[in-house]
């Protein structure tokens, strides 16, 4: 897989103290199943090493995270190279039950937004309350970013991640970079 490149190929932009950065190749597995199902739950936490997150949250440990996407969908983040192995493990372990595990690493892009004012840069584009009190570390929100779908989460002070579809990653990156360039609001 020496040929693999992320859609944004390492792009970085910084303005007004906010950095918008391509996170490169990121392993992502879209998991669908019944969360209430004990088996699903145990298998997943056994293989990933993480609990199933609560509604609109993300749980992380080292280079692995699991984010709540919908009542029957999770997004599992693992190192890019591990994805196929993990999918195979899950399929093996859950054989016979109704679930879906697909590799979506290449279908999406992961972008980091960091620095004081990062929340404002995002808030120019999403109809979500990103003020510290309302959207803290460990929270995830799937939403609309300007004209496309995106998932946003907070993974530390002034540090956010955005996942969008691969085909629009340039759009999302440019949008965020432009928002940073146009200046901070000073309201969040």
């Amino acid at each position: 897989m020496s040929n693999a490149v992320s859609a944004l190929n390492g792009k970085v932009a910084t303005a007004n103290g906010v950095t918008v950065r391509d996170c490169g190749l990121q392993g992502m597995i879209s998991m669908r199943g019944t969360f209430e199902d004990e088996n699903f739950f145990t298998v997943l936490s056994h293989i990933i090493g993480l609990e199933i997150p609560d509604v609109r949250t993300i749980v992380s440990n080292g280079d692995r995270s699991v984010a709540w996407m919908s009542p029957d969908e999770l997004l599992v983040l693992v190192p890019y190279a591990d994805v196929n192995g993990i999918v195979a493990q899950i399929e093996e372990a859950l054989q016979g039950s109704h679930f879906l595990a697909v590799n979506v690493s290449d279908a999406r892009s992961l972008i980091a937004i960091e620095g004081a004012g990062a929340a404002e840069v995002i808030a120019k584009n999403v109809p979500v309350d990103l003020s510290a009190g309302a959207f803290g570390e460990g929270m995830v929100r799937r939403t609309r970013m300007a004209q496309v779908a995106a998932a946003v989460w907070c993974d530390g002070a002034d540090s956010y991640k955005v996942i969008c579809f691969r085909s629009v990653s340039t759009y999302v990156f440019d949008l965020l970079a432009q928002s940073a360039k146009d200046g901070l609001v000073g309201a969040l």
């Binding site: 040929n3 693999a4 279908a107 584009n125 691969r166 629009v168 340039t170 432009q178 146009d182």
Partner: protein, 999 residues
């Protein structure tokens, strides 16, 4: 003469002079000046011409309500028409020109209209220019249009950028006057998150100019302290130069922040449109003074009384040495006193009330001002500026009692609460007879998602014009908005005032001549006589009057004129004012730039552009792009010296002879998995998918519930419980949504999961006789031979170093493989194909070549052969309609009489007799005409091309009884109104037996 006073001007910084231009003249002002105050400082009384009669016009107001002083600002990419001089701050280098005159402001040809004003009353054009018919378009309308319009037209691309910002708060306070600040403070004390916006650059609203004490301090000191306290609170956000432009359903508010309009340095966003969700909105938007309707009330130098005092106190400018104040209420006396204090002369206060004013009246008289009671203005004298007024009895018809020389008339017809934001979303108003105003009906505010009111009006916006009562109301509003209990408010005392008198026409008995000179709507030249005419002619509804006279439709949206106009209407109809009612308040409160509405969505960010992994390669290699939804696909890859169509033909021939590559990554790919997946797909597709063997592919059709074809594509069985459905490029998201819709809302007990993995894979169609050789040259672990890998099957494995899944399907009629690799490897794979393909003559081909090749094969194309009204039967696709299935989406619909009608047009191939290409969209006429005299038709072309393979025109068409008419020649329209003969043939023009694709 208007001039800058040597002292005063709390908002200007006399240490920071700035230079700006007006109509080419270089003028001086100070930082903190508005364009209007700076123009007054330079004795520029006349600032524009009115819309219809081109009357000379001066500034009348000091804020957002200004109807007259509209300017063209700046030039080039920063040119902006219709900017109000009263809200534009001056800065070094600002250029401005006045509007609506030619050749110049002072000498304007259009002013000739004034002479005909008598024949140009409201609605005159409805009664004229009717004959002769052609004259309207060619003579009258061009003339009328030429003289209409205000500002000049921007010519260049906007040089600025704009942005949006989402903000959420518990309480939003609109208006930074004393009421707004009080409400904000009360709400903020509760700990709730509070946002306060003020449209101007200065906080405090009217109070500083009006004077008085709050909590024992001067209003200015109190405002500064309160602001400082609010600024210190972490739960409070304060924004000046930010206008709440509209209140929308469910507590959505737009606010318009002007970031650089007042600066010489224009870097960064120019405007920021805040999209606010507020739990409760407090509208402390103040009140607007009304003009009085007397003859000549539009002559430059006639201003609102409060504006005159604003100019003196805030900006240190006097409009004239001698100001006559004319009023129906006490507040205007403040102007007289303020002028006196500034050392200016006030020859008289003309008070329409017999009894004159309250305490402040005595104060004025004590200051030596002559107060004329029960009097009015018969007429203002002057042309391009005021020279004096003629005084009369308010009660009479206007006999002149005396004339008073002056340069300025300060008029006040009372105050109207700013109820716009309250009303935008349905808040109701009540007429207050005592206060002579419409104010919010507090029990009938706009309601939100929970059915409860979400707007609270406060202070003078709620009809409490006195300081003490206004502060009390505002404090209560702040608490109510925050949902807390409490008591108390900043303390103030209101002097005893005499009630305002309803004076709608001055003098009360003014005759037609005067009424024709008494302006209601300054910008649109609507006079008292026009409203009366509307009533007389039966345009009785206030909405009819508005539209017939254009009252309130100008850029100020009737902030000054509406109440006066409807009062005149009510008198004309002899109906009470509340029965007449107001027109509808609509956003925005004051006009907002289109740029700000668009926000950052311009240029590259106008819309998302979806790129395939190979996008950059295409971009650099002669691609002619075609937008498909938000994707861009290569229509053709043009080489040096080629026209697009040369490229298309070359690409086709190369596929037919060698091998071509099509970037098919945009095709939709949806995983459907689960124990009920087969059953589900059998419902979705017209044909049977549950029986598809693992390892195989099947072409499938999807219809909507109306029976119409909506999408098609190849379905792949990946394993026992997993299928992969390919859709059209435009169909991917739609079909995925469609699947989820059925699974979640109809068959929610079926065990099926779907996933849209369109972008996970880069997909390339490798097509042409040398396709196999090219792929084999990669090496890997898959046997691609005819025997090991037959048509309509798929394989997964290594293709060289690439992880690939290959489908042996063909849309071109040639030996063809569609290869999917992970998207991150797409670019590399594409490059590898080009490199390894060199020896086989590989070339990329675009969507047009693909379209033509499929047409040569007689394959249908969603969007060409279908248009949302076509059922599979029309396209002879009965073979794909499973007879074994009891039901599928669209089946019942196709049983309806019109769908089962044998007369429906059916798909055939068409070939011109002379080999030419039939034009796109061509129809085949049939003899005779229908009941409406339209020519009968018997068919139409769905796709038509020049086939480089066959070296002639080929087409597909829907023709009445088509399949039964093989070999028959019929006629289609040509491009020039004539007809082309064409033969009905089989739609498959190329390799009917499929020998090429099955090698």
């Amino acid at each position: 003469m208007s001039t800058r006073l040597s002292t005063g001007g709390r908002l200007i910084n006399r240490n920071k002079p700035v230079e700006f231009q007006f109509n080419g003249k270089r003028l001086k002002g100070y930082e903190g000046d508005t364009l209007a105050s700076a123009l007054f400082a330079n004795d520029q009384m006349m600032v524009g011409r009115s819309f219809k009669y081109h009357r000379p016009r001066g500034v009348v107001a000091s804020g957002a309500e200004e109807p007259n002083a509209l300017m063209n600002l700046n030039s080039g990419g920063r040119f902006e028409p219709n900017q109000r001089a009263t809200t534009q701050e001056v800065y070094d280098g600002l250029t401005s020109t006045s509007q609506n005159h030619w050749p110049s402001l002072e000498f304007d040809i259009g002013a000739i209209n004034q002479l005909f004003a008598r024949w140009l009353p409201a609605g005159f054009y409805y009664k004229m220019f009717i004959h002769p018919r052609a004259f309207w378009k060619h003579v009258y309308e061009p003339f009328i249009r030429q003289s209409a319009g205000l500002g000049q037209v921007p010519k260049e691309q906007d040089a600025d950028v704009y942005e949006h910002f989402y903000f959420f708060c518990d309480v939003m306070v609109v208006g930074g006057g004393v009421a707004g600040l009080t409400a904000a403070m009360e709400a903020a004390k509760s700990g709730k998150k509070v946002l306060v916006v003020e449209q101007t650059a200065a906080w405090g609203g009217r109070a500083v100019v009006d004077g008085g004490l709050i909590d024992g301090e001067s209003t200015e000191a109190w405002i500064n302290q309160t602001l400082a306290k609010l600024a210190d609170m972490p739960n409070v956000t304060l924004r000046d130069r930010t206008m709440a432009s509209g209140v929308y359903d469910h507590g959505y508010v737009l606010a318009y922040e002007r970031l650089t309009d007042h600066l010489a340095d224009k870097s960064g966003a120019r405007h920021r449109l805040w999209r606010i969700r507020a739990g409760q909105i407090v509208t402390a938007t103040g009140a607007i003074e009304r003009p009085l309707s007397f003859a000549g009330n539009d002559i430059p130098g006639v201003l609102l009384a409060a504006a005159v005092r604003d100019y003196v106190v805030n900006w240190g400018v006097s409009v004239g040495d001698r100001t006559v104040v004319v009023t129906n209420n006490d507040d205007a006396y403040r102007t007289a006193l303020a002028l006196k204090k500034a050392g200016l002369s006030v020859p008289a206060i003309v008070d329409a009330r017999e009894g004159g004013a309250g305490a402040i009246g005595a104060e004025a008289e004590a200051a030596g001002i002559r107060v004329l009671k029960g009097k009015g203005i018969a007429k203002v004298k002057g042309g391009k500026r005021v020279t004096g007024v003629a005084i009369c009895s308010q009660a009479g018809e206007g006999a002149v009692l005396e004339e008073i020389a002056c340069e300025c008339v300060a008029m006040s017809g009372g105050w109207s609460p700013v109820v716009h934001l309250w009303s935008h979303c349905g808040g109701k108003l009540v007429w207050d007879d005592a206060k002579v105003m419409f104010r919010p009906d507090v029990d009938k505010g706009p309601t939100g998602a929970d059915g409860k009111p979400f707007v609270i009006a406060a202070g003078s916006a709620n009809g409490y014009l006195g300081m003490a009562e206004g502060l009390a109301d505002a404090a209560a509003a702040g608490r109510a908005a925050a949902g807390v209990k409490g008591e108390g408010a900043p303390s103030a005392t209101d002097a005893a005032e005499k009630a305002v008198a309803p004076v709608w026409l001055m003098p009360q008995g003014a005759g037609p001549k005067k009424r024709m000179k008494a302006w209601l709507d300054y910008q649109n030249d609507v006079k008292v006589s026009d409203v009366m005419l509307a009533a007389q002619e039966g345009y009785e509804s206030v909405e009819h009057t508005k539209r017939y006279t254009t009252l309130g439709m100008a850029t100020d949206q009737g902030k000054l004129s509406n109440i006066n106009g409807l009062a005149i209407l009510s008198k004309s109809l002899d109906a009470p004012i509340p029965a007449v009612g107001t027109t509808t308040f609509r956003p925005p409160y004051t006009p907002i730039s289109m740029g700000s509405i668009g926000g950052s969505a311009r240029g590259d960010l106008f819309q998302p552009l979806r790129r395939t992994p190979m996008h950059d390669w295409h971009d650099g290699n002669g691609v002619d792009w075609e937008p498909v939804g938000h994707w861009r696909r290569g229509y053709a890859f043009v080489r040096n010296g080629e026209k697009v169509h040369d490229a298309v033909n070359r690409e086709i021939l190369n596929v037919r002879e060698n091998v071509g590559l099509l970037d098919a990554s945009t095709l939709g790919k949806i995983i459907v998995k689960g124990p009920d997946a087969g059953k589900f797909l059998d419902m979705l597709y017209t044909n049977m998918m549950s029986t598809l063997p693992i390892g195989k592919c099947r072409y499938g059709l999807m219809c909507n519930e109306n029976g119409f074809l909506s999408d098609d594509g190849v379905v792949v069985r990946l394993n026992e419980d997993t299928w992969l459905c390919h859709t059209t490029t435009g169909g991917a998201d739609r079909i995925h949504g469609w699947m989820e819709d059925w699974l979640q809302c109809e068959w929610w007990d079926w065990k099926v999961y779907t996933a849209n993995i369109t972008e996970q894979l880069a997909q390339v169609a490798v097509a042409g006789p040398k396709a196999r050789k090219l792929l084999e040259s990669f090496g890997g672990d898959m046997d691609l031979s005819k025997e090991a890998f037959p048509f309509m099957e798929w394989r997964e494995g290594k293709l060289g170093e690439f992880d690939a899944r290959i489908y042996r399907i063909s849309f071109s009629g040639e030996l063809s493989y569609e290869v999917a690799v992970p998207a991150s490897q797409g670019a590399a794979f594409w490059n590898a194909l080009l490199e390894k393909g060199q020896e086989f003559g590989v070339m990329p081909y675009g969507t047009e070549a693909m379209h033509i090749m499929r047409a040569e094969k007689g394959f249908i194309m969603i969007g060409d052969e279908t248009d949302g009204t076509i059922i599979p039967q029309d396209l002879n696709l009965q073979w794909a309609l499973s007879k074994k299935k009891e039901d599928y989406l669209g089946k019942r619909a196709q049983e309806r009489s019109h769908m089962a009608d044998p007369k429906r047009w059916k798909l055939v191939g068409v070939e011109t007799v002379d080999g030419s290409v039939i034009p796109d969209g061509s129809h085949a006429p049939a003899p005779g005409t229908n009941a409406n005299g339209q020519r009968n038709t018997q068919g139409r072309i769905t796709s038509t091309y020049y086939s480089p393979t066959l070296k002639k025109g080929i087409a597909m068409a829907l023709v009445a009884n088509g399949p039964d008419r093989m070999g028959e020649t019929i006629e289609f329209q040509d491009e020039n109104g004539g007809l082309i003969k064409a033969k009905i043939v089989d739609p498959c023009f190329y390799d009917k037996d499929g020998e090429k694709q099955n090698v």
